[in-house]
Amino acid sequence: MIIASLAFYLFSFIAVVSALNVIFQRNPVHSVLWLILTFFNAAGLFLLLGAEFLAMILVVVYVGAVAVLFLFVVMMLDINVAMIREGFMKYLPVGAFIGIVLLVELALVFGGWAMSPEAQALRLAPTPDLTQIPNTEALGRIMYTQYVYVFQAAGLVLLVAMIGSIVLTMRRRVGVRKQDISTQVNRRAEDTVEVVKAEVGKGIA
């Protein structure tokens, strides 16, 4: 068990350090790279908890897809660090105000924290024995039986978001010569090529 607790301290230490680095790095691309390291260590913590499916999905979804898009966008921004520093004092009061409001809200939320009796009952509900069936199967069984409607609703929300983003970014441009595979395949030599006997000295008119 020593190894497990050592691994826990290693993962959580690196996770905290890299999360702090996400905020303190001046270069936004470096921030994203630190964020990726944070995700990795969170996945490691999931592994230590025995939640191997969640760990892998965290890496696939967040590191493999979301962070790639982050990096993609941030890389293309031409951010001048000196110009950001210039406005620092000007924006400080507004930023500090928003920060204080958020802090008070968080304090209010956590001050009035109470566990609902239903959630308490859910926690007591028997989970399948993880030595008998794998983690993934246990998750699948509960997700596709008890919570199937919630699962479907989440899928619908994602679908709406996807359609929305496509509609927002779609623009029809005129004068674009797009490749049409079927017309290319259906083109025959006789449609386009004509063999003409040209007389010497006259050519074809």
């Binding site: 696939v60 493999g64 897809a65």
Partner: protein, 336 residues
């Protein structure tokens, strides 16, 4: 003390030994894939290929390695040094760590985890970082354009790779790679899933940036793409990483579709051959196909590449997934 030795030291040494047993043959294989590629393409183009260093040019990979080692490492001005040197390391080590879960014979693996196929998917989806980091850190137009192309390309083809993997694991009923191989005992999955086999192989070509999808390093337009600014050892790591990735993805194809270490027919003579020999032969077959494709097809244009990924492979693999699930349910073959 005895508990410490028996409980920690011996397992640790055993794991370390297993890792060495995987990595050393892999590195030799990587060296000889580069040689094989030059010889095979040479033969296909009616040339000879490298034949001077050593017998039949067999020492050529080592000569190349020594040459690259003794060259000067150049760091471009305005680049980001840490990220610049991190990028080739990331590419190379990602190609190596995937082998932690790949079973090369019955019971021959470093780790037999229950979510092996997800682990492979996760590792292959990280491959894009090496390239994007290299492109950004180089502070060069060509490298940056190459990195942007590659990010879009690899993310697009990952989607269809994911769907193909789901079809296979639905049929096998497990995420464990050894169990997926054992489920193919009667019939290798490339027979029932033949269209998916083709889609997966083409997606693998795109995922490893091989011809005809080597747009991130298209030399006719981008010099060498994301590798433009790299020299000496950092270039060598990218180069080795690319070929190690090819071998790794061939291993994945072998496990998912070609029955892993299983012999082609269940006959005593064929079963007597050790499983690792079959595994190596199948990987070599996939590698040969990749090299053959390189010698045969012209490079895709970028919009054609995107069209193929999103408008052809994605719907096809999605439809096939629904068909597979429907077939399994209605014939009562759902594995429990």
């Amino acid at each position: 003390m005895a508990e410490f030795i028996n409980g920690y030291l011996i397992p640790f040494a055993w794991i370390l030994g297993k890792i060495l047993l995987f990595v050393l043959p892999l590195l030799v294989a990587v060296a000889y894939v580069t040689y094989a590629e030059r010889r095979i393409i040479g033969a296909m183009q009616m040339r000879i290929g490298p034949n001077v260093v050593g017998w039949f040019g067999l020492l050529q990979p080592f000569a190349d390695a020594v040459k690259l080692l003794t060259k000067e490492t150049v760091l471009p001005t305005g680049s980001s040094p840490v990220v610049f040197f991190l990028a080739p390391m990331v590419t190379f080590s990602l190609a190596m760590i995937a082998w932690a879960v790949i079973p090369v014979n019955e019971g021959w693996f470093i780790s037999n985890i229950n979510v092996g196929i997800l682990y492979l998917f996760a590792v292959s989806s990280l491959g894009v970082y090496g390239i994007v980091m290299a492109g950004w850190a180089s502070n060069s137009r060509y490298a940056f354009l190459g990195a942007m192309r590659s990010a879009a390309q690899m993310v697009s083809y990952e989607v269809s790779i994911g769907f193909v993997m789901i079809s296979v694991l639905l049929t096998a009923g497990s995420l464990n790679l050894s169990e997926i191989v054992m489920a193919q005992k009667g019939m290798w999955y490339f027979i029932p899933h033949f269209p998916m086999f083709v889609i997966f192989f083409v997606s693998v070509l795109a995922e490893t940036n091989r011809h005809p999808f080597d747009l991130p390093e298209a030399e006719s337009e981008l010099v060498a793409g994301f590798m433009t600014e790299y020299s000496s050892m950092s270039f060598a790591l990218f180069f080795l990483g690319e070929y190690a990735n090819m071998i790794m993805m061939s291993g994945v194809v072998t496990i998912l579709f070609l029955g892993g270490w299983l012999a082609p027919f269940d006959i005593a003579i064929l079963n007597a051959v050790p499983g690792i020999v079959w595994f190596a032969l199948k990987i070599s077959f996939c590698l040969f196909l990749m090299i053959w494709v390189r010698a045969t097809f012209p490079r895709y244009r970028y919009d054609q590449l995107m069209r193929l990924g999103w408008k052809v492979f994605l719907p096809l693999s999605l439809i096939w997934l629904v068909l597979t699930a429907g077939f399994l349910v209605y014939t009562g073959r759902v594995p429990v």
